[in-house]
Amino acid sequence: MQQAPTAGELPKLLRRDRMRDLRERAIGAALLTAAAVGALTTAGIILSLAGETIRFFGQVPIVDFFTETEWTPLFSIQKFGVWPLVSATVLTSAIALLLAVPVGLIAAIYLSEFATLHVRSLFKPMLEVLAGVPTVVYGFFALTVITPFLQGFVPGLSTFNALSAGFVMGVMIIPLVASLSEDALSAVPVSLREGAYAMGATRFEVATRVVFPAAISGVIASIILALSRAVGETMIVAIAAGMNPILSFDPRVPIETMTAYIVQISLGDTPYGSLSYLTIFAVGSTLFFMTFLMNVLSFWVVRRFREVYD
């Protein structure tokens, strides 16, 4: 009968390497710290936002915030109805999407289904460059080029307006829609395309009836992402859309989006800690909540419509 060897007799090869165990634990700890920094920063932002927002609502009833239709925190008669800011954000974002979704999707379908490899390798980097243009440049482009141009045939278009800002914002997010949708379309397996071609589908039918529906969750996610980009976009609307908080869906007149308002107060001489100053946290929270909802929606859409190709 053989006896199991005690630890002392264990062959060297089989023995645990204490140093390596230690090293791996140290690496794990370092990675955890790095991850924690990111998470803690986010938590910090949310907490300070929440704290100041709660202070604001200590002085302004939350009901007024969501029912009043005037926003005049800087006037002597202060009104705190957030709708003028929300409507401006919705209007500029809607104009942006109206341009970016059709153009972006057509570009994506063209690039993934029709373009030759050569054309695609030329276009994709161009899109990425377009996505990298600083938004302040887009803002001035809207104010100094697009608005004067549009004034030629849109009667009553003010110098600051939602139309140019929304339009240029749309141009800005086209690459986002195009690039992400193109990724989603390209990820559809070749075998599905072949299956359709083999049944006598034309290139157009393959693209619209097989590839696009199969990629729909990725496409919708790209649109929602573009929308949250538009909602959060600041420079373009601050420069080109105006600082005039009125509840209006007329795209020709100056308005003020939520982001533009935050810029206005942050850069202005509003005393720190005053009620007017606290408004930016309330508006910031509202904005945060809107984009958060969109991200949740996008997550849900991706899960709900995801096609398991395999």
């Binding site: 397996p189 075998s191 083999a198 049944m199 006598g200 589908a201 199969a214 398991v308």
Partner: protein, 291 residues
């Protein structure tokens, strides 16, 4: 379903009309290869290049109507390439060049004036890995008919195609509820067959249709092929020689030489190929000495 019409049999195997039709084991088949008088497909001097690389070398092959023809040979010898030449699928791959002719119904489908989309409508294809669309079972089958602007009753067409593919009973209750992808591998492959049948093709090309399936699912597909061969011309690529022996009327053996160009080595009645091959390379392959 379909009544068994008296096949106008070319005098090949004396398998008769008794069923099961193609049990070859133990039947001393008179392996006399008759010339194919009216081939459904005639491949003439077909060569194909992927960019600079030649994959097919002057293939000549006549494929009999309403029979099963199998293409066998070691991996990489060009079986799939040849099969995909018959419905012009290869030209979807960039930089592919084809020379030679493929005659279907007296027309060279590589004629410049021929529309490849129309060619593919009359020649269906089933792939190695089942590739149903991420749509409902119903929409999978209806797809081809919809793009063809089919005028008849879609429900009837879907039912008929699914019955032909021996899948109807398993899926009839959730035609519009279940995605084609929710089926088992074997069911998916039969769905792909139903989908191909729904465009009423004359020819069905199958590229290793059972290679991703278990033995029972494979058996079902083989039975189905034999059944379908009453009405359709079937060309099947297989690396499984037993499968070729079980289902195919004729078998073509392909091989890529040192130049890696795939060529047809031997072609004839399956019995003859498997029992008395004329070429030593065929014999080496079927006896498992390479490949």
């Amino acid at each position: 379903m379909h009544h068994v019409t008296e096949e106008t049999i070319e005098p090949r195997v004396a398998a008769g009309s008794s069923h099961p039709p193609r049990v070859r084991v133990g039947i001393p088949a008179p392996a006399v290869d008759e010339p194919i008088e009216h081939p459904a497909i005639e491949v003439r001097k077909l060569s194909l290049w992927y960019g600079p690389k030649r994959a097919l070398g002057e293939i000549d092959l006549k494929i009999a109507a309403k029979k099963i023809t199998s293409l066998i040979g070691p991996s990489g010898c060009g079986k799939s390439t040849l099969l995909r030449s018959i419905n012009r699928m290869n030209e979807l791959i960039p930089r592919v060049r084809t020379e030679g002719e493929v005659i279907v119904d007296g027309v060279n489908i590589y004629d410049r004036r021929v529309d490849p989309v129309v060619v593919r409508r009359s020649i269906g294809m089933v792939f190695q890995k089942p590739n149903p669309f991420p749509k409902t079972i119903y929409e999978n089958v209806a797809f081809g008919a919809r793009i063809n602007g089919y005028g008849g009753s879609m429900d009837e067409l879907v039912e008929r195609s699914l019955r032909q593919a021996a899948l109807w009973d398993e899926v009839k209750d959730d035609l519009k509820k279940k995605s084609g992808l929710a089926l088992s591998g074997g069911q998916q492959q039969r769905l792909c067959i139903a989908r191909a049948l729904a465009t009423s093709p004359d020819v069905i090309l199958m590229d290793e249709p059972c290679s991703a399936l278990d033995p029972i699912a494979t058996q079902r597909i083989e039975d189905l092929m034999v059944e379908l061969a009453r009405e359709y011309t079937i060309v099947i690529v297989t690396h499984n020689m037993q499968q070729a022996a079980r289902v195919a009327d004729r078998t073509a053996f392909m091989l890529a030489g040192d130049d890696l160009v795939g060529r047809l080595v031997e072609y004839g009645l399956t019995d003859q190929i498997f029992t008395s091959p004329r070429d030593s390379r065929t014999e080496a392959y079927i006896t498992g000495r390479f490949g």
